[in-house]
């Protein structure tokens, strides 16, 4: 049994006596108490345990529900988002009546109902380089239920620095990953993935979709691992990466190792938290990211972002505010690394950003430009902007020849991330007048035409 060489055991031994169980708790947890590997002593360990959930979304929902039900005495929850109706197909911590409420208020009510013996500590904030160490230090272990790379690297580095296990889970579409990272001898997230992908390469769940039950599968695995760590039983997912495939219904584990050259847990050159937005290439492709890290405290010694040269699907432009500098890539086979490097060495090409209201006004007065929707056909079927033409991102290289470089081109997608990538690529490929519709068709629905359904 690998058990726990984890801070959980250390905290217990050094600082806290395991609390007694009340009569009500003995009744409530009776099926645990008669379980040989849990028993009264295990249940008291759970009551003494302090677990921090970063994110009360898809993964955090089932994890929080089961950890509360299991009797984890102190649950910290970090989130700053509000409940949106599009969350409800997977975020089972929240209900229809909670739409518009803060996720933390909703979570606290629900968890109190599940188990009034659990103390829920809400942190209505983004986890940042400024507050992460202070918050995580108060806990025995962390359950990573974040939804973006910047916060994942932040959680990882903070857990390594503080010597707290990071119960990792991540999902996309039909597949998920889980592991127990940052234990004293095991690998950390940077051992798995040294650097994040360039912004926009990997769509978020808001853009790429996710099977609603998938976070249920992965989040309950995270809860299982967290409970095992607290109890010190079984074989935790240390040194193993679990791959869950809901379509094949397969569960596979890969062997993962601590990388001696890992700047976090190997060489330990990362001694302070860094600017994770910068590390991850600044603004990610979705404004829906609800747990993004921000602000740097101290310049870190981490390696720089990926130096690889991406092509069509690996943009590196900044899709956030105002005119954006198109950084690297070129379109399909037309571009080479050398050409891209040369282009970069010259004045940075830029595209402009326009709001839905501006475009609506320009369409209404008959301005001459092409509005190109780069979403996929199944999204086009859900809704479209009158006057737009569909050129899906997936087939964009082949369709570039159909675009007229002498005309102004406005590109648009769901929330503005993918279209920002396309805008950068078009500029890089020589299109002189390119604009990105900020906020995409979602913002169009908010500000121009509420009849357009949001999805």
């Amino acid at each position: 049994m690998t058990g726990l060489a984890s801070p959980v055991a250390r905290r217990d031994a050094a600082t806290t006596a395991e609390p007694e169980l009340s009569r009500e708790e003995i009744l409530r947890y009776s099926r645990h108490l008669i379980l040989p590997d849990v028993g009264v002593s295990g249940q008291r360990k759970l009551k003494a345990a302090r677990i921090l959930l970063v994110g009360a979304g898809g993964l955090g929902s089932p994890a929080a529900l089961y950890l509360a039900a299991a009797g984890v005495g102190h649950l910290g929850v970090v989130d700053f988002d509000t409940v949106d109706v599009t969350n409800l197909h997977r975020q089972v911590l929240h209900g229809t009546a909670d739409v518009g409420r803060s996720k933390l208020a909703s979570a606290a009510d629900r968890l109190k109902d599940v188990n009034p013996h659990v103390h829920v500590e809400p942190y209505e904030t983004r986890l940042t380089s400024e507050n992460a160490l202070e918050i995580i230090e108060e806990y025995d272990l962390v359950v990573d239920g974040t939804d973006n790379f910047a916060t994942r690297y932040l959680v990882n580095d903070a857990c390594v620095i503080l010597d707290r296990p990071n119960v990792y889970g991540s999902i996309f579409r039909f597949e998920g990953q889980a592991s127990v990272l940052a234990t004293p001898d095991g690998p950390c997230y940077r051992c798995l993935f040294r650097e994040p992908p360039p912004p926009g390469l990997v769509p978020s769940c808001a853009e790429g979709g996710v099977l609603g039950v998938l976070p249920g599968l992965v989040g309950t695995i995270q809860a299982t691992e967290a409970i095992k760590l607290v109890l010190g039983i079984g074989e935790p997912l240390i040194g193993r990466l679990l791959l869950v495939d809901a379509l094949a219904l397969s569960f596979r584990t890969m062997t993962i190792r601590r990388d001696p050259t890992c700047p976090a847990c190997g060489t330990r050159e990362i001694r302070e938290l860094i600017d994770y937005d910068a590390f991850c290439g600044a603004g990610e492709s979705t404004p829906a990211s609800s747990h993004a890290s921000t602000h740097s405290s101290t310049a870190g010694s981490s390696s720089s972002p990926s130096s690889s040269t991406p092509s069509l699907s690996t943009p590196s432009s900044n899709p956030s505010s105002t005119p954006a500098a198109a950084a690297a890539p070129t379109l399909g086979s037309a571009g080479t690394a050398a050409a891209a490097a040369q282009a970069q060495a010259q004045a940075p090409a830029t595209f402009t950003e326009v709001t839905p209201r501006e475009i609506a006004e320009r369409l209404a007065r008959g301005d001459d430009f092409d509005l190109i929707d780069v979403r996929e056909p199944f999204e086009w079927e859900i809704c479209r902007i009158e006057g737009a033409r569909l050129v899906p991102l997936s087939t964009f290289p082949a369709a570039v020849a159909s675009l007229d470089p002498t005309r102004e081109i406005v590109v648009q997608c769901k929330v503005g991330g993918r279209s920002a990538r396309v805008a950068a690529l078009l500029v890089q490929s020589g299109f002189p007048r390119v604009a990105n519709l900020v906020g995409g068709i979602t913002r169009w629905s908010d500000e121009v035409d509420p009849e357009i359904p949001k999805y």
């Binding site: 939804d147 991540s170 597949e175 990953q177 890969m254 190792r257």
Partner: protein, 91 residues
């Protein structure tokens, strides 16, 4: 010489929907290059322009991370299985 390369669902659409591909070559790098030439849309998702693996896409050869087993220079044997795992961040 034939090995199996398992693709995640998100990349299989770039390989005619196939989740498992057969590939040949003396090394893992050669097998990946062979698959990339058969499915050009996969290439930029598996390797950088120089043909090297990205730091955000991990290759497992028989369930072991290739970075600890010779990387793309690792020799492959008939029946070997490669699993490609890209970083995802959804939660």
């Amino acid at each position: 010489m034939s090995i199996t390369i398992n693709l995640p669902n998100v990349l299989s659409r770039l390989a005619d929907g196939q989740r498992s591909l057969k590939a040949g070559g003396a090394t893992l790098g050669a097998a990946v290059a062979e698959v990339s030439s058969r499915f050009p849309a996969l290439r930029s998702r598996l390797t950088d322009d120089a043909g090297n693996p990205y730091p955000f896409v991990t290759f497992y050869l028989n369930d072991e991370d290739i970075r600890f087993a010779g990387g793309f220079d690792a020799a492959i044997r008939d029946g070997d299985e490669v699993t490609i795992v890209p970083a995802v961040a959804g939660g």
